[in-house]
Symmetry: C2
Subunit: 226 residues, 2 copies
Amino acid sequence: VTTSPVSGPQVAGPQVAARARARRGEGERLREEIIEAVERLLARTGDIDLVSIRAIADEVGVTPPSIYRHFADKFTLVQEVVARHFATLDDAIETAGRRSDDPVESLRLRGRAYVDFGLANPEHYRVLFMCKTADAPAFEDLADSAGMQAFQHLVDAVQRGIDAGAFPPDLDATLGAVTIWTALHGITSLLISMPTFPWPDVDGLLDRICATQACGLMEPAREVRS
Amino acid sequence: VTTSPVSGPQVAGPQVAARARARRGEGERLREEIIEAVERLLARTGDIDLVSIRAIADEVGVTPPSIYRHFADKFTLVQEVVARHFATLDDAIETAGRRSDDPVESLRLRGRAYVDFGLANPEHYRVLFMCKTADAPAFEDLADSAGMQAFQHLVDAVQRGIDAGAFPPDLDATLGAVTIWTALHGITSLLISMPTFPWPDVDGLLDRICATQACGLMEPAREVRS
DNA sequence: TGTACATCAGTGAACGCGCGTTCACTGATGTAC
DNA sequence: TGTACATCAGTGAACGCGCGTTCACTGATGTAC
């Protein structure tokens, strides 16, 4: 066993392998690493409150001030992470929806994908849909934000059902999409925030919810009761 | 204008009128005042994070350590507030539900009362249904907690519909109740956490959600698709 | 090929803040004699 | 009726902590001459 000729300090910091410093012109690399670190921290701790600037810096293997080189403040950083999550969720849903040509079945597949995303990434889901606007301003800024794009895809899917004759022609696609979204969000968010509730079998419950929604969409528009 | 003969310090603290100290044996009065202060703070600030021990003490007109005379820690205090909120919500729903003898209409009234409670007390609703278990352990402890009692009332209401022949006899009342609850929670919580989303008219949306749920409940049980 | 220098990635130390909680205390209130 | 004293409600000051953020800096990297 030979001893290393150059012996640096052997005391391990919070990150065992010190991060190699980026070379000139590659400073943007850290920006990417920071975002990835936030995602990892969220997934590992399952708690947005534990994702502090200091924790992020530790995870990357860097000191806190470095983060301000790439993001104006914590808010801006979270905002970017949120936008990426929306894109990921949208991708998952669209991919699932394309697995069937039948518009009703396609909607069901989308619903499953939505719920599955939430249950697989509960804290990500929390940040997207359950946080205060101050924490994560999902739909705040632009009408064509990542979140609105994902929602528009759902409206389109409902509209395809109407066009194909699966749903009544006088159904408002937006209203139908909102109804579906709220139903899916209801089960997803409650499963996340109330894990100790004696839930029935989740698959059976999801089937019932999908059936209920399909039933509601197919019904002709009713007189509104006063 | 006469000057007060006894001139105490005229510097106003955070609470203008200093709270009168409880007399011997009436120490429990502060306990009640603390809980009321938490409710007021929640309603006023709309943010559980601003409800700190210090803020509560200020609101009551007392110093922080006084609170520990009546509650072991902050967790215990929040727990008691949560239990009361559940009781209030349960009351509101039951009162509304009794306004009709028709089991379906009674369920609709219950649904409206649930949503109305959430929209009228968004931060209270947040604490009950949208917080992390660590923050507010709603169903944690007892099977017959305040939250479970309220849920059982919903199951009973669905069961009355089955008994009256309004819903299929093979409908599982618990499954039906969970489906309704998740649907109502979906719209309530999204309206709370995403206020900037371009929501359609809330009354119309609620009517559609209620109609969808009624439709789903009335459907005979289906074969479960694989 | 060698050297002075501007650039740029990242650091170390500190700021002020609000948090939950603890501790030894004060002083009014009621009671026993 | 008067006084010493135990009780009890509430206080003042402080603890250690983690937070977001700022500031002046260091030292490696590439470039110009």
